[in-house]
Symmetry: C2
Subunit: 159 residues, 2 copies
Amino acid sequence: MPHDMKLDAIDCRILALLQVDATLPVAEIATQVGLSSTPCWRRIQRLRASGVIQRQVALVDPRRVNLPVTVFVTIRTRDHSEAWFERFRTSITLIPEVVEFFRMSGDIDYLLRVVVPDIAAYDRVYKRLIADNALSDVSSSFAMEEIKFTTALPLGYVP
Amino acid sequence: MPHDMKLDAIDCRILALLQVDATLPVAEIATQVGLSSTPCWRRIQRLRASGVIQRQVALVDPRRVNLPVTVFVTIRTRDHSEAWFERFRTSITLIPEVVEFFRMSGDIDYLLRVVVPDIAAYDRVYKRLIADNALSDVSSSFAMEEIKFTTALPLGYVP
DNA sequence: GTTGAAAAACGCGGAGT
DNA sequence: ACTCCGCGTTTTTCAAC
């Protein structure tokens, strides 16, 4: 399982298919990429073992599990020490409502995407955020509509 | 396949497992939730057919397919007509580098998450954004580090 | 809802080209 | 590296409880 695995055009086509529907039988992927099932299966195994395919998951409709509200939270901080960051990182990562967490360049230090059933629930997450960490500025923006959300990455850039 | 399906505690535990690893054999899910495989399998089928489980996908590591840069793009517009929005929506949705696209409340009208190999590639996406649509203000924030990213929703809020 | 079991589909691996 | 073929497992369905 080399970590610097090279991907050819067929690997990309396999990934493109699995990114959209991971339940496709190997045999069907094989025919779509012009292979028989054994080498196709081996390629998929290699993609898994090498970590190109991180994992295989079921995507749940947020509205069907009472999570219609998503909030983007921008955070500025004064403390930029390593020790503070590690504490902050683990504190945020443990909050299940936080589904995305990025360190940013520019005037905003961190950006979170939070998924909750309503504004009251968001307020509880917000209080947990500011209680656990010394944050100098926290700003919340509410999403009104999810127009596009995909886990399929654009695979046209593979070297 | 009713669209207003109610989920009980066992359904939630099944979803929690499948959100993390959709390759688990039905038999193992069954034992983990304290069921035998037949009713467990039926529940999973119901969750799929009713759309609670939208689909099953492979998650690809962005760095391994040459996509280490993510950019958040905030957009303000002057034109708020329905016709303009429909044009804008389809134009943006067709860009594969745009993986998330939200309509927002507050002073920002739209927020995009864009995934690209480098800043030069982002510039080409940016030019496509402003060429296809009359946007009054576009601002780009670059992510330095992805600290957390999960597709697993918090399932503690199901009614 | 449970068990058990059979049919079909698929994953997986060996032998050969 | 791929094709072909077949074994073993898992899924899926169907009984009866």
